[in-house]
């Protein structure tokens, strides 16, 4: 299990959603919802701290795998996160993704925090900084309108190059 104290937050994304905390929790943790807003991927999570966590391709293969670090419905869901399904990416150290759900007036503030245990290059962080706004904007649309948006997205070439370079030199071992 990850030594959480070694991880520091590098990417934070905040959005406010007109929905109750329980509904936002359900959208984050149920496959029926994630398929709609998370590029078609399905979450598969053992609903307890220490449980197994996957985000699966439509064909069932694991895209992301990890372990649940905190399962506190409907407030906090945190897990380790390894991009298992993509060559090279799978060799990077795992990161931690945490969702915090708080009441903010009549809306809910959803905060996504991506934390890392090593001095991760900006070019790799750029991938998450591109993806999270699309995923979480879509989650908000699904909860508020019942309908996701089709958004086209690929990992940026610079990110792929940076991942290859990091995997070749393994700076996290130094």
């Amino acid at each position: 299990m990850a030594d959480v104290s070694k991880f520091k937050p590098n990417t934070v994304y905040v959005t406010y959603i007109a929905a109750p905390p329980e509904k936002v929790w359900q959208a984050l943790t149920s496959a029926e919802f994630t398929r709609q807003y998370f590029f078609g991927f399905a979450i598969d999570v053992e609903p307890k701290t220490g449980g197994k966590f996957f985000i699966r391709y439509p064909d069932g293969r694991a895209h992301i795998s990890g372990k649940v670090l905190d399962w506190t419905p409907p407030r906090r869901f945190s897990c380790t996160w390894l991009v298992e399904g993509m060559a090279e990416f799978a060799e990077l150290p795992e990161c931690i993704v945490t969702y915090d759900i708080e009441q903010a007036g009549e809306a809910v503030r959803l905060t996504m925090t991506e934390s890392h245990s090593w001095d991760i290059p900006e070019a790799i962080l750029a991938g998450g900084r591109l993806g999270w706004p699309a995923i979480l904007s879509n989650l908000k649309s699904v909860l508020e309108t019942g309908k996701p948006m089709a958004i086209k997205m690929e990992p940026p070439q610079e990110m792929i190059e940076a991942v290859k370079k990091a995997v070749a030199t393994k700076p996290w071992l130094k």
Binding site: T15, Y16, I17, E106, A107, K140, S141, E144, M149, I151
Partner: protein
């Protein structure tokens, strides 16, 4: 060392023209900007301000670029109601719109001289943009609360 900055991206199911109108029409901004509205003649060189309904001025600036419906740059952006933030001086805010799939990608890049301004806009932009997205997609803001 690069200047302190804050970037916020949101995707809105709308057209660039509608999002542009929502950003540059006083009556429209009033619906989602927490009891304030944006006032300007909306051309390059004109003054720009955020004014509360009671007449207090929140922020002032100047239109540096005005390229509808793609790119808006507000320069000399300075806070006017919190002395410690005002003391940091001018910031520059770039707002860009592009179509991607069924959505408009809205990117805000705010570059400031100091950390207090960035702290303030890091809290403010997600609220304002979440409200704008809700308003354009559902006809209602996510939160009515005032600042």
């Amino acid at each position: 060392m690069s200047k302190p900055s804050f970037v916020y991206v949101t995707y809105i199911r709308s057209t660039p023209e509608k999002v542009w109108e929502a950003l540059t029409t006083q009556e429209f901004t009033r619906k989602y900007w927490f009891g304030a509205s944006l006032r300007s003649e909306w051309k390059v060189g004109s003054d720009w301000k955020i004014e509360f309904d009671d007449g207090r001025i929140a922020d002032t600036g100047k239109i540096v670029e005005f390229d509808p419906p793609k790119r808006l740059v507000i320069g000399n952006w300075q806070n006017q109601f919190r002395p410690e933030v005002k003391a940091e001086g001018f910031s520059t805010c770039t707002i860009e719109l592009e179509v991607t799939g069924e959505a408009v990608k809205l990117t805000i890049t705010h570059v400031a001289q100091g950390p207090k301004f960035i702290e303030a806009v890091s809290g403010g932009w997600p609220k304002i943009m979440s409200n704008l997205k809700s308003l354009l997609e559902t006809g209602h803001v996510a939160m009515e609360m005032k600042v």
